[in-house]
């Protein structure tokens, strides 16, 4: 039994089932992300854990105790929202101390905890400010401090970074993760941003139309996607249709090339997929299959250059590292690409 158990959780609004047989067990101190496109039911799952929605069926247990019948204010669960959740009439310090005051914590103890929290989020001097005097990033830090001040058992974060500028988003996510690690608080983080989910989480749950399609470490989800949806949603993916010529030894024919994948395949057609970083420009040790194509697009992203080439009628995206001595190929240039057949993903339906 884990610390937070969600079992067979379902939720319908009227006739539409928006969460279907959702299961998740989270250990104490773990950071788990719910990742999926907008409307897939992430917020609904989170709100059921927080107590703002009642499940249609299923169980939610924290530390072995069923919480479904508890009201939100009885669950001792911290929550952080996308934006605009600070009390505008209270100062930063009063916001952070709100939960303490509700709980009847003595003034001196509360003051101590508030300053501890403000130190934690790196805003020790802003206690007297009002929310409207803070930047978006500062507001979200304060919201985090407010949620943590009451020492909740579980922390729920619903896209807390998505209203912020890109730069702040990246620095704040690192900071939030560091704080979470330091306090060892069990956390569910909801996001539609795969980079956020992959970079922050111990485990990622990829959701699609109310179903948890895969749950695993970022490494597993990215490298061994369980479904076609996961493969497509997480990271960039090149896909090709292939005819299986010999199922037992895993031989397939793709765009005029014969490849051996070295694992058993079903007969008929399969979809193969390759991440951009599995394809290299020119020859590459260990990547035995070579393809020829023509560059159609060059995106210089800094340390990485994302290229797109037309290969046998299909478009392939692939990456090379920036190299100060070698300029990237130009659009229209003919190139040779290499890939290791055994790296290719075979995507289930």
């Amino acid at each position: 039994m884990a610390f937070l158990d969600i079992e067979h959780l379902e939720k319908s609004f009227g006739q539409t089932k928006v969460v279907k047989d959702f299961n998740l067990n989270i250990d104490k101190g773990e950071f788990v992300s719910l990742l999926g496109p907008s409307g897939c039911g992430k917020t609904t799952v989170l709100r059921m854990v927080a107590g703002f929605e009642t499940p249609s069926s299923g169980d939610i247990r924290i530390d072995g105790r069923d919480v479904v019948d508890l009201r939100p204010n009885q669950r001792n669960i911290g929550m952080m929202f996308q934006a605009y959740a600070l009390f505008p009439n209270l100062t930063v310090a009063q916001n952070v101390g709100f939960g303490l005051r509700v709980a009847g914590v003595a003034k001196s103890e509360a003051a101590e905890r508030i300053s501890e929290m403000l130190d934690l989020i790196g805003l020790p001097d802003l206690g007297a400010r009002y929310p409207f005097q803070l930047s978006g990033g500062q507001q979200q830090r304060v919201a985090l401090a407010r949620a943590l001040a009451v020492r909740p058992r579980v922390l729920l974060l619903d896209e807390p970074l998505s209203a912020l500028d890109a730069k702040i988003r990246v620095s704040l996510r690192e900071e939030m993760r560091a704080i979470q690690r330091r306090l060892g608080i069990t956390t569910i983080f909801v996001t539609h941003d795969q980079e956020e989910a992959l970079s922050m989480s111990d485990r990622v749950v990829v959701m699609h139309q109310g179903i948890a399609e895969q749950c695993g470490t970022p490494f597993e989800v990215y490298n061994r996607p369980a479904t076609r949806f996961v493969a497509n949603f997480v990271g960039t993916l090149n896909t090709f249709e292939a005819d299986v010529t010999d199922g037992a030894s895993g031989r397939v024919r793709v765009a005029g090339h014969d490849l051996t994948l070295g694992r058993a395949l079903p007969a008929g057609r399969v979809t193969l997929a390759a991440r951009p970083e599995m394809i290299s420009l020119g020859a590459h040790p260990g990547r035995e299959t070579s393809l020829t194509g023509r560059i159609i697009d060059v995106h210089f992203l800094g340390s990485v250059i994302r290229l797109r080439a037309e290969v046998g009628g299909a478009t392939l995206a692939f990456d090379t590292f920036n190299d100060t001595d070698v300029p990237p190929p130009k659009v229209g240039e003919d190139v040779t690409l290499s890939v290791a057949a055994r790296d290719l993903l075979v995507i289930g339906q």
């Binding site: 927080a50 939100p72 669950r75 929550m79 505008p88 009002y130």
Partner: protein, 260 residues
């Protein structure tokens, strides 16, 4: 050229508004023959009747405001939070007092709550006072509701409620520490409007036969020359002070200047 006409229109409007006022003020100062004096004011303000009716109406206004706030703030909050689909309907209901004349409302009251009815409110002074307060609350409902609803629009009611709940707060804490403080300016402007309405109301008080300021104003107007003018100026001053206070509170509430 366009400018000229705008200014002309403005000047006309101001004259239309100011001339009668000016005339009334001048007239109210002419009680003593040949000189301008405050005699009419002294007489009116010193009148026991004035003092009695004015305090009665002030007390009624305070109760009306308290009742209105207790009724409207939780209602408007709940409608925004849980029944957003009902908002147009509620808005329509709160507008009804503007289209139904006060005299119709008060006749309805008298029929429903007379001494031979199931709830004989008009049978006692207290009962009639309560009935009158309900009537006043109805009359001020459009203003109170709109003011509070506008106030609620400036905050994210649902998110703030949930944030407070997740921090352990119950409904009373949420109302008193989160919702009310954030709509206080709106509530105050609704309160001042209510005050102005109650002080000047005639129909209901007269038909329920309560010693309010409105009927006193009418009696005085029918029987005296200079005093009614002085009283009208006083009433105007009260209304304007109320308006001024609304502005003042709006200006000095530090946290509502939030730049969203």
């Amino acid at each position: 050229m366009n400018r000229f006409w705008s200014w002309a229109a403005l000047a006309f409007g101001l004259l239309y508004f100011i001339l009668p006022l000016w005339g009334m003020v001048m007239f109210s100062l002419k009680m003593r023959r040949g000189v301008l004096s405050l005699d009419a004011y002294a007489k009116v303000l010193g009148d026991e009747q004035f003092q009695a009716t004015f305090s009665y109406s002030t007390i009624m206004a305070l109760f009306t405001i308290a009742f209105g706030v207790l009724l409207v703030v939780p209602t408007a909050y709940w409608v925004r939070l849980k029944l957003p689909g009902l908002r147009p309907f509620i808005e329509f209901v709160t507008l009804l007092p503007l289209v139904i004349p006060a005299i119709v409302i008060v006749f309805g009251y008298i029929r429903l709550y007379n001494t031979s009815s199931w709830l004989p409110l008009t049978g006692s002074t207290m009962g009639t006072n309560i009935l009158l307060m309900f009537g006043y609350a109805t009359l001020s409902l459009p203003y109170m509701y709109r003011a509070v609803d506008t106030g609620l629009r400036t905050i994210d009611v649902a998110t703030l409620t949930e944030a407070a709940q997740s921090l352990g707060a119950g409904w009373i804490t949420i109302m008193t520490r989160v919702i009310l403080p954030n709509v206080l300016v709106a509530v105050l402007s609704g309160a001042f409007l209510t005050f102005a309405i109650v002080i000047g109301e005639f129909t209901m008080a007269a038909l329920l036969n309560r010693p309010a300021f409105g009927p006193y104003l009418q009696v005085l107007g029918a029987n005296r020359a200079y005093e009614p003018a002085a009283l009208a100026v006083v009433s105007f001053a009260i209304t304007w002070v109320c308006m001024g206070l609304i502005q003042l509170f709006t200006h000095f509430s530090k946290h509502t200047k939030a730049a969203r």
